[in-house]
């Protein structure tokens, strides 16, 4: 079956789809995030089938012994056609896995799709395991994980160890995404140390670095007039910064950010405090994509230039987007990840 149908099946109704990948579509019977956000672990490591979408989203900045930069992505998306788990093929839950490895001059991508209810993909909270086919993010607990993915031309096998607490964005994990009040539950573990082996066409490479895991679930995280987002996770010399900019059809932006001190203390910033402006674009896959950015958080004296390590880090998956590692220069230096969606 072709991608077109696949997309149709991922979206309850194409004709009504709004925003990027239908994320702005109305939610009907699905639950919506409420404040104050309350989390309960380990249950909230696992799935929330009454919400329409959810993801386990891990990105990592890696370096080999010779100092070459690498980027890595392991993502599991859950999309529900209806609420509830269901059993067997009748389950309304659909799963989509994306894995990628980015080198300075190559970008390897692969995608997996699965139906819920038959055991081909899913997430268990305790002991933690997220999987689709042979891909796994598995550990005795959420702080110690093994991560595996394979594609036709690459594979990786990584170990992750958390050295800090979970970080809750927005109002204690209630992350507002638009002036109209669309929101998601959103927490991260940005303190993973990661090491392992990348298998690339030229051979195996030992790498190590830092990884950042995002957990987010919602039913309509974007408002209907939002067309896509630019999301940054930056590891700076004095702390970490998560910031995003949602692009709206009228040309304005909705931004939010979280400053994360080395000890895990957080400061949440509301719309307008965080600024990101493209400074350079690249022709990627037939479209113009910004791959150089000026990113500012004046409250923390952050004014940095963010550049893609490989501007061609295009995710040619059923729902395409740009995702890749970046370098940071300016008031602060470091490495990070950039995700851009909705550049059609």
């Amino acid at each position: 079956m072709n991608v077109k149908i696949l997309l149709l099946s991922m979206l309850p109704s194409l004709s009504m789809a709004q925003g990027f990948a239908g994320l702005g579509t109305a939610t009907d019977a699905f639950a919506t995030p409420q404040r104050p956000a309350e989390f309960s672990f380990p249950a909230d490591y696992g799935t929330h089938p009454d919400y329409r979408i959810e993801w386990w989203y891990l990105t990592a900045n890696l370096q080999s012994e010779d100092g070459t930069d690498y980027g890595l992505q392991w993502t599991l998306f859950r999309t529900a056609l209806a609420t509830g788990e269901g059993t067997g093929w009748a389950s309304p839950q659909l799963w989509m896995g994306h894995a990628a490895v980015t080198t300075p001059d190559a970008h390897y991508v692969t995608e997996r799709l699965a139906r819920g209810g038959i055991g081909q993909a899913g997430v268990t909270a305790d002991p933690f395991e997220a999987w689709i086919d042979d891909w796994q993010l598995i550990g005795p607990n959420f702080d110690q994980l093994r991560m595996v993915a394979t594609g036709p031309d690459f594979a990786y096998d990584m170990a992750l160890n958390a050295h800090g607490p979970l970080i809750f964005h927005g109002e204690n994990g209630y992350s507002v995404k638009s002036a109209a009040g669309q929101a998601s539950y959103y927490y991260s573990q940005p303190f993973y140390a990661i090491d392992g082996v990348l298998t690339l066409p030229d051979g195996d490479i030992e790498v190590s670095g830092q990884a950042w895991l995002d957990r987010e679930w919602s039913s309509q995280p974007l408002s209907e007039d939002q067309t896509g987002w630019d999301w940054f996770s930056l590891s700076l010399d004095t702390g970490k910064l998560m910031g995003f900019r949602l692009r709206q059809t009228d040309g304005t932006y909705y931004t939010a950010a979280t400053w994360i001190a080395p000890d895990g203390a957080t400061t949440a910033y509301e719309d307008g405090a965080f600024r990101a402006n493209p400074t350079a674009t690249t022709q990627v896959n037939g479209r113009e994509v910004p791959t150089g950015w000026q990113v500012q958080l004046p409250d923390r004296d952050v004014d940095v230039t963010v550049r893609a390590i490989n501007p061609q880090a295009w995710m040619s998956t059923s729902i395409p987007y740009w995702e890749g590692p970046v370098t940071i220069e300016g008031s602060h230096t470091g490495r990070g990840y950039l995700e851009m969606t909705g550049y059609d």
């Binding site: 079956m1 099946s9 109704s13 139906r115 081909q120 594979a155």
Partner: protein
């Protein structure tokens, strides 16, 4: 100023609507011819692609089990080991085939191809929706399930989600087989380590028959190209006329100070608009033609697959685009020369009527030189060239060369006629016809190409059919074919069949290299099935008897050609030497093949057991035996194949192709006839000064009209006579050059004189019809108009 110029140019059409009509209709017909052929071709392809894809057989490797059932847990185990496999549940719903697929894991290109109307929703996936063609749905009674009509599903098949299929077939937790995606990830464990009870069946590739149909398609495509060539000639003629007719206006406009550049631009944009309109009309006409022809073509191709393919026509965007592109591109091609000439033309150049068609001596010399060079080039390419490109280049050189040579050859023939003419009218007739020739030459070239295309295609299709019949007799000789899963089952099936049928013919093959080429070696049982049906292209005396006595081997044409093996040469099979006693046609097979008799094969390859069997039996008993086999052995449906039925059906529908070919022949000739009509109409007005003196000297107007018709008939006949060898050369090129280059085997060429005679009659009828109107007009010309010629003479 631009507006004024445009208004003036367009006013010409208002005053001369007939010229506009002929231009638009000429363009439309050319487009219709092209898009009609394309439409038939595209639709046929799309139809059987849908069938092939829905069925999914052969295209992909598959994971199967001996009992036809795979536990869903095994599927999950394979997925979790990294295997990119997709589940298929298959069974019968009210006697029709039901296939359940998983939309998310099915490889690209598999499944109901287009559901862009948004039909796939929560309900589609989970609530139990089945897709099928409307015809198939109509055959379903009393099923509590949502039904969606989709023309992209193969007829006679229901397609649904794997979960729904399990429910409808009571197969919870069970799958029938797994499709293996072409791309697999790294680090995959072997199948045997994960699910030892399952086996991997490699992709079967296209069947022999499928490869044969590729050749059929190539031929249809060639027909499309030929009709394009005919169309271009017609468009060229129409555009040239349009320019010539307006030349005085253009000259006057320029004399009055209208800039040349603007004029060229105006004419170009006017042509663009006209060609788009004509193109749209043409695509519409083509659609009608295709709609009329399609059921037969679809049936032809689907018949080759043994499954019915939907005969409905869908208006695909690519036809619109290609049709319009042909109209606009063809007009551009045809107009560029005229526009260039216009741009170069000195302002004061006299408006010589039909100067574009009249050739100076020097022009004729160049044309003759070009024609001869092209024909020589075609000959050289035939003798020395290799590769598909050379084949097509040869076709092009041959056709254009012949078209260019036509007026010159006709001139010679007419000159000969003139030299032999006795009597004043006869002398005048030949001389006048000869003088007319330049004005008619484009139309006659179109007729030549149309005729040649028809002769070529008729020859090709008929030859193809004879070959195909022979091939079916050879390859599908057995009434029933059974495919077993393993050696044990094979033995049981053989034992089951033996008392019930005439003979069971095990089919077994070994693969090894013969003279460096991969070759399948077969060991057929000595039986009349082979002796009677396998016709050798070349053979030693008494070849079959020798081979059955274990004295030698036969090889296929592909192996003989590629390894340069002739009768009497010696080849080595499994270390043993064999004399080649026969070479047989093996249409469609990409690799080499060799045959030795059963006992020899068993001695050479003692470990190879037959899993496939051909069964000879009375055809009427096949359905009953099929059911018995399926009941006894729980074989998948696809493993028991009633080839006799398929063969009979295939031949039946193949014959319908001739309806299509015949209809296309008539259409092509109609278009060529139209070109003649246009040329004659245009000539008619200019000819008054030539005819008036003849009339004044005592020839009646109706006599003049009759002579005009006679002239058209003679020119058409002469053209037809010249088209026959050209058409045969064309057919030969397609069968013996292009086919060999494209597929590695040569289609034998047969001649069909009755067809050619019928085509010649068509051509003459077309010429008569084309000449009729101008002739009647001439008969009815008022004497006053003829007299004007004298009074106005300058």
């Amino acid at each position: 100023m631009i507006k004024l110029g445009l208004w003036t140019l367009l006013s010409h059409w208002r005053r001369n609507p007939m010229q506009l009509f002929t231009l638009v209709i000429g363009l439309s017909l050319a487009t219709a011819l092209w898009s009609g052929v394309q439409a038939v071709n595209a639709e046929a392809r799309a139809s059987y692609d849908a069938a092939a894809e829905t069925l999914g057989e052969g295209q992909f490797a598959q994971v199967t089990s001996t009992d036809g059932v795979i536990a869903q847990d095994d599927y999950i185990a394979l997925r979790r080991a990294g295997w990119q496999v997709s589940p298929v549940v298959e069974g019968r719903l009210q006697g029709l085939r039901l296939i359940g697929l998983d939309a998310l894991t099915a490889p690209n290109g598999l499944g109901p191809v287009d559901l862009t109307d948004g039909a796939l929703t929560v309900e589609t996936l989970l609530g139990g929706v089945i897709f099928a063609t409307q015809d198939t749905l109509d055959r379903l009674v009393d099923v509590n399930i949502t039904q969606v009509a989709s023309a992209d599903v193969a007829p006679g098949v229901f397609l649904t989600d794997v979960g729904t299929a399990q429910r409808l077939l009571s197969m919870d937790g069970q799958l029938s087989r797994l499709i293996v995606a072409e791309t697999q990830p790294l680090n995959r464990a072997p199948l045997a380590e994960i699910t030892p009870s399952l086996s991997l069946r490699p992709p079967q590739g296209g069947s022999d028959v499928a490869r044969l149909t590729d050749s059929f398609h190539l031929n249809l495509t060639a027909f499309g190209l030929l009709s394009f060539a005919v169309g271009i000639f017609i468009v060229n003629g129409a555009i040239g006329l349009a320019f010539e007719q307006r030349r005085p206006v253009i000259r006057t406009l320029r004399a009055l100070g209208f800039p040349l550049r603007n004029l060229v631009g105006l004419i170009a944009s006017e042509l663009l608009v006209l060609s788009v309109i004509a193109g749209a009309i043409g695509v519409g006409l083509g659609y009608l033609v295709a709609a009329a022809l399609l059921p037969d073509v679809a049936a032809t191709l689907s018949g080759l697959y043994g499954a019915s393919v939907s005969g409905t026509l869908q208006l695909r965007p690519e036809w619109w685009l290609s049709g319009l592109a042909i109209a606009v591109g063809g007009t551009g091609l045809a107009a560029s020369a005229s526009l260039w000439r216009l741009a170069q033309m000195p302002l004061l150049a006299g408006a010589r009527p039909r100067a574009w068609a009249m050739q100076a001596k020097r022009g004729r010399f160049i044309q003759a030189l070009a024609a001869v060079s092209l024909l020589v080039a075609a000959g050289l390419l035939a003798a020395l060239g290799s590769g598909l490109f050379a084949g097509f280049a040869m076709l092009a050189a041959l056709l254009i060369g012949a078209a260019l040579a036509l007026p010159l050859l006709l001139d010679v023939v007419l000159g000969f006629g003139a030299s032999r003419a006795r009597g004043v009218i006869s002398e005048w007739f030949w001389a006048d016809t000869r003088q007319q020739l330049p004005g008619l030459s484009l139309a006659l070239m179109a007729l030549l190409l149309a005729m040649a295309a028809n002769v070529g295609v008729s020859t090709m299709v008929s030859s193809f059919r004879l070959t195909f019949t022979g091939f079916l007799d050879q390859r599908l000789a057995s009434e029933l074919y059974v495919y077993t899963n393993d050696v044990d089952q094979a033995a049981q099936v053989q034992a089951f069949l033996k008392p019930r049928v005439e003979i069971v013919l095990p089919i077994r093959a070994a693969t090894q290299d013969v003279r460096g080429l991969p070759t399948e070696i077969y060991g057929p049982t000595p039986h009349s099935t082979y002796r009677d049906n396998w016709v050798f292209l070349q053979s030693a005396p008494n070849a079959w008897a020798e081979i059955e006595a274990g004295q030698g081997a036969a090889i296929n044409e592909q192996l003989a050609r590629r390894a340069d093996i002739a009768i009497g040469d010696r080849i080595t099979l499994a270390g043993e030497p064999f004399d080649v006693l026969g070479i047989y046609g093996d249409y469609g097979n990409p690799i080499g093949q060799a045959l030795v008799t059963e006992s020899v094969f068993e001695a050479l390859f003692p470990d190879i057991r037959a899993l496939r069997f051909g069964v000879r039996m009375p055809p009427e008993d096949v359905p009953a035996l099929t059911n018995a086999l399926l009941a006894e052995f729980d074989l998948p449906d696809a493993n028991v194949v009633n080839q006799a039925g398929i063969k009979a059906f295939s031949l039946d529908v193949f014959d319908r192709t001739f309806t299509v070919t015949g209809a296309l022949n008539v259409l092509t000739l109609a278009v060529a006839g139209f070109a003649i009509l246009m040329s004659l109409l245009t000539l008619a007005t200019m000819r008054l000064p030539q005819l008036a003196p003849v009339w004044a000297q005592g020839l009646t107007r109706s006599k003049l009209g009759q002579i005009e018709i006679l002239r058209a008939v003679i020119l058409a006949l002469l053209t037809t006579v010249l088209a026959l060898p050209l058409g045969l050369a064309l057919a030969w090129t397609l069968l013996a050059v292009v086919n060999v280059e494209a597929f590695g085997w040569r289609l034998p060429m047969f001649l069909f004189p009755a067809d050619y005679a019928r085509l010649a009659i068509f051509a003459v009828v077309a010429a008569i019809l084309a000449a009729l109107w101008p002739a009647v007009k001439l008969s009815n010309t008022r004497p006053a108009d003829l007299l004007k010629v004298f009074s106005n003479e300058r």
